[in-house]
């Protein structure tokens, strides 16, 4: 068993709970006497609140209290440090002052005895504003006040001079819009104070960070706070850090003396819980006459909020994916009247690789080289940005395998040269890439007298399958079957585990869980070989433990009997494992997407008809959930390529498609056949499982692969996402001037 459970494909151990509705999400908790908070949200994007008229709202049924900047407890700022465990993305406190920085900002919170009463009263709050001209988009921001320097910048060699003297070169600017995470489950907080202790249910990708931030904000000790997030209806990054709604809930609970629930309405999921920011990216590439890259410059600007600087590190991959002596990567930001952006699945790399991998396609065409061959000739063999070897890099293998399975050799390079019926067929491809990270982690495993194992770690399962792979790791070490392993996650009272983000959960958590399992077995052996133990005549190191049985020289006993005989509840192991040692290797994951699109110009219909993705992430712990992560990321990437954009009114910075009907994500009907090849090359330099993490890499490069295929089908190069039909159509008349 221990040979097969890692790398096998068991189904999710929490699947039944989820599909039967038995899994409690944050807003499914109803503590006694709970009240409901509903926000009043600003209807302007910039200015000041001049008056809040509560007269009608106060008369509304069931209202308990109404909070706003004139009536809210004085709280503290968190230093917002990830390393200290108290990071938030929007550092301004709710109701801190009368300023409005974005449309959809909390300007009041009505607390009432039911959601319906709170909402009805919230609609009756009349807010007056002194409205100022809003900065509605990136261009307006740059024009109004320029840019600020970002982080993650890099340079080597002399990219300017080598560009000027190169045989072939390109210089294009790419743009990506605001994308909004839109997890199915809305952000939600249920906060309760008991004396000076705060308990919170939150839909969170990082319970410990929320606990740390709440402790700072409320000025209390971390041990006075518990945060639970056992089930999350996904987050895609929007639930990494606590947002203002959670502070409003915790403060309102303390002020009213009742548990308070605040659920963020769908409309405000577009405003006050982060988004992937708008970017502009200038790519200047050049090659010698052999098609070798001699100069790479990737300069990006992203929009951030007026309250915080969030940097979308679009050039993070550009530093190391291709071999080139002369490289410049720079990130700048400009302030706009939108909420603070945040990480969204593969932050930096997702928009960055749209630009880079589109530009590489354009560069290959300019140099007259097949895009696959061009990449194979230019992929870096070591991380030139850090001057380190890669721990494991199979991108050439991934690219060749995917090309073979996709049938790239059937492609005729001329745009518009492949046609079937009404449709032009386009083939495109792009590389994908994501950093592999691993952080310190604690875990606890108890082998219990009832024959089960009980595992705790304060990380989270955000829908990716963490519960299942943790159980697999315990099963692998102990030999216990999955059904006898209870995994508990998402609770700050458990040993410290990682934030569920950055694709690092697997690599971070499993070594700690495995080590804790081994320590529990050690303790079990120590019990068994002690004076009262069943194997008191055997040295602990001579005792073996397999499939729940302790044995020595043919004498075997189930471990439950050993514990039972000594009236011991459990044998326990606690472990602390460290982060990755990044001094010897650069740890990254690699892959390639191959995409077929079909363009029917007679009805202006574009669809992605086929995807083959080969992904090199080291070892896949669970092939079912791993494949599911890549398929899901491919679908999300397809949506990014094709549909997704939060549209803002350029006159007032108000998001206009803030709902599930008009903010378009890919539906089931948009999903083509997706063929995922998981290369299986364990990366033992990274951890004992050889696993690097798989949640994000699949979305990187997808939009570029689609854009490159669209160019091949249509001859049109779309450098601004999303690639909607209107950008490909001919004969569109000039609009009437308003």
């Amino acid at each position: 068993m221990s040979d097969s459970i890692i790398g096998a494909g068991p189904r999710r151990i929490d699947g039944r709970l989820k599909v039967s509705g038995a899994a409690p999400y944050a807003a499914d908790h109803y503590p006694d006497n709970m009240a409901y908070g509903y926000g009043v949200f600003s209807t302007i994007a910039s200015g000041r609140v001049t008056n809040i008229d509560l007269s009608e709202a106060r008369r509304s049924p069931g209202v308990i209290d109404i909070f706003h900047h004139g009536h809210f407890p004085s709280l503290y700022h968190t230093p917002s440090s990830m390393m200290q465990g108290n990071k938030v993305e929007e550092t301004r406190l709710p109701f801190e002052d009368d300023r409005v920085y974005y449309e959809g900002q909390f300007v009041a919170l009505v607390v009432a005895d039911s959601l319906e009463n709170a909402r009805a009263a919230a609609y009756k709050v009349k807010v007056s504003y002194d409205e100022e001209k809003a900065i509605a988009n990136l261009d307006q921001g740059v024009k109004a006040h320029g840019t600020q320097k970002g982080k993650g910048n890099h340079s080597r060699g002399n990219p300017g001079a080598s560009f000027e003297s190169a045989a072939h070169s390109i210089d294009y600017t790419y743009a990506t819009p605001v994308e909004t995470h839109n997890p199915m489950e809305m952000h939600a907080t249920v906060a309760s104070w008991r004396g000076d202790r705060l308990h919170v249910y939150e839909s969170s990708q990082g319970v410990l960070q929320e606990k740390g931030a709440l402790a700072k904000i409320f000025g209390i000790a971390p041990n006075q706070i518990e945060v639970e997030s056992p089930f999350i209806g996904s987050g895609f990054g929007s639930k990494l850090w606590m947002w203002p709604h959670a502070v409003t809930a915790a403060a309102a609970s303390r002020e009213t003396g009742r548990p308070v629930q605040v659920v963020v309405p769908r409309q405000q999921m577009f405003t006050t819980t982060g988004h992937r920011p708008e970017t502009r990216q200038r790519l200047r590439l050049a090659t010698d006459n052999q098609g070798r890259l001699v100069s790479v410059r990737h300069e990006s600007i992203n929009a951030t909020s007026f309250t915080d600087q969030y940097v979308e590190t679009c050039g993070s991959v550009t530093k190391s994916l291709y071999s080139c002596d002369n490289v410049l990567v720079s990130h700048e930001t400009t302030r706009v009247n939108r909420g603070t952006p945040t990480s969204m699945r593969a932050p930096g790399a997702a928009p960055g690789l749209f630009a880079l991998e589109s530009a590489i396609d354009e560069m290959a065409i300019e140099a007259g080289i097949d895009p696959v061959e061009f990449r194979l000739n230019n992929y870096a063999d070591r991380d030139e940005s850090q001057d380190l070897p890669f721990s494991s890099n199979h991108i050439k293998d991934a690219t060749r395998q995917a090309a073979e399975k996709f049938g790239w050799s059937k492609r005729t390079p001329e745009p518009g040269s492949m046609r079937e019926g009404n449709e032009f067929v386009g083939y495109g491809m792009a590389a994908c890439n994501w950093e592999a990270m691993r952080f310190p982690c604690d875990a606890r495993v108890s082998l219990r007298a009832d024959g089960t194992a009980y595992v705790t770690c304060a990380t989270q399962d955000i829908g990716t399958g963490t519960y299942t792979i943790v159980a697999q790791a315990v099963s692998d070490v102990t030999g216990l079957p999955l059904e006898r392993i209870t995994v508990k996650l998402g609770d700050t009272s458990y040993p410290e585990g990682p934030l569920s983000g950055g694709s690092w959960t697997t690599a971070t958590t499993l070594p700690a869980v495995a080590e804790a399992s081994r320590k529990a077995i050690e303790q079990l052996k120590s019990h068994a070989t002690s004076g009262q133990g069943a194997f008191s005549d055997v040295a602990a190191e001579d005792l073996s433990f397999e499939n729940g049985q302790l044995s020595h020289n043919g004498r075997a006993m189930d471990y439950t009997e050993v514990l039972g005989a000594q009236r011991l509840a459990s044998a326990d192991g606690e472990a602390h494992t460290g982060g990755a040692d990044t001094s010897k290797y650069s740890f990254r994951s690699f892959g390639a997407h191959f995409v077929e699109v079909r363009w029917d110009p007679g009805i202006s219909n574009l669809r992605v008809s086929r995807v083959v993705s080969a992904i090199d992430v080291g070892r896949a712990i669970n092939t079912l959930t791993a494949r599911n992560q890549v398929e899901g990321a491919v679908v999300m990437g397809l949506g990014m390529a094709h549909f997704e954009a939060t549209d803002y009114d350029h006159r007032n910075a108000r998001p206009v498609n803030n709902n599930y009907a008009e903010y378009l994500v890919a539906t089931h009907a948009d999903q083509p056949e997706i063929d995922v090849i998981l290369l299986d090359n364990p990366d033992y330099e990274f951890n004992e499982y050889g696993a690097r993490g798989i949640g994000e890499i699949g979305i990187t490069g997808m939009a570029a692969a689609v854009a490159n295929a669209v160019y091949h089908a249509t001859g049109k190069r779309i450098r601004e996402l999303p690639i909607s039909k209107d950008k490909l159509m001919e004969g569109i008349p000039e609009p009437q001037r308003a």
């Binding site: 009463n117 009907a669 008349p733």
Partner: protein, 327 residues
């Protein structure tokens, strides 16, 4: 929540009487528009009259060949009805192209006729909107007006599209709307039911304040015709039409004997184009004829900042659909 009076009616007459002439009264059938808009505070009914108990669930074939559909027949039931799929394929296809299975299971025939616009400026509760607040202006003009805004039938007071697919098929088929008022019943030609925005975009239909739709009666099918609905949008499912066409064509040899054309997604009401139909009559069923008809359809179109592409797209919806139905 905002409180309202609730009455459950057992007959159409009783419903009408409970509703009265109160401008803030609303009939409740499937609720897929009303409840949504109540939750976001855009509709604030003071009186809700639940008509779900009314006996309006039948689809009947009348002696004169017409088909009478009860107001409460759900979109799902109508789309799957054998008589509809046989005689009015365009209607079944239009219904199935709209919304989602869950919504179609709740949504009713009359409710679909009465659905409100998807314009974000109507729905945000704060922007100028002449539908929501007569005289306040139209924020869609000069704003973000790509997907749910029209190029046909617009005015400087409103440019929102009528979002229905079903109504586009009904406009092509030809129909009458039966309504119950306090003084009895009357019929309204389907093409006269929805109103152009003009200077009064808050007046969306020909119903008097207290009238209730009881039935929609489809004209008899055109003998020997084929029909279909073609909906063009960004994604494959769950999106309102950017442009759609309902087409019914009868051929004699390769000559068009009769044609019906209506469009969705491009007009401020379900957009029947009789002039284009006339132009097709007696013409050969070929691309040139279809192109000519499509040009007529869009002759008076007004492109706005973000939706000018709907003019060529609408033409494509017409041409491809005609091509398919005559192939």
């Amino acid at each position: 929540m905002r409180e309202f009076d609730y009455a459950r009616a057992d007959s159409a007459r009783q419903a009408v009487s409970s509703h009265g002439t109160n401008e803030q009264a609303a009939y409740l059938a499937g609720g897929t528009t009303l409840l949504d808009l109540v939750k976001i505070d855009i509709m604030r009914p003071e009186q809700v009259v639940d008509i779900n108990r009314l006996d309006l669930n039948e689809i009947e074939t009348l002696n004169d060949g017409r088909t009478r559909i009860g107001a409460l027949v759900t979109n799902t039931a109508l789309a799957r009805d054998e008589r509809i799929t046989r005689d009015y394929a365009v209607l079944s296809e239009a219904l199935l192209s709209g919304a989602s299975t869950q919504l179609r299971n709740k949504a009713t025939t009359a409710g679909n006729v009465m659905q409100r616009v998807r314009c974000p400026y109507f729905r945000d509760g704060v922007s100028p909107c002449n539908k929501r607040e007569p005289g306040s202006g139209c924020a869609a003009i000069g704003g973000y007006n790509r997907s749910v805004h029209a190029v046909l039938g617009t005015s400087d007071k409103c440019i929102a599209t009528h979002p229905s697919d079903m109504c586009v098929a009904m406009a092509a088929i030809g129909a009458t709307v039966q309504v119950q008022g306090p003084e009895g019943e009357r019929e309204i030609d389907f093409l006269d039911f929805h109103l152009l925005p003009g200077d009064t975009p808050w007046k969306e239909h020909a119903l008097k304040e207290n009238e209730l739709i009881t039935h929609v009666t489809l004209d008899a099918p055109i003998q020997g015709s084929r029909s279909g609905y073609l909906k063009l949008r960004d994604r494959e499912s769950y999106q309102f039409a950017l442009a759609s066409s309902a087409v019914i064509v009868a051929l004699e040899g390769n000559t068009i004997r009769e044609a019906r054309i209506a469009l969705g997604g491009v007009g401020t009401k379900p957009w029947r184009v009789k002039e284009a139909e006339q132009a097709l009559k007696g013409q050969p069923a070929n691309e040139q004829s279809f192109q000519k008809a499509a040009d007529i359809v869009m002759r008076d179109a007004t492109p706005y900042e973000h939706n000018a592409f709907k003019i060529p797209l609408g033409k494509q919806a017409v041409i491809r659909n005609l091509t398919t139905q005559t192939a």
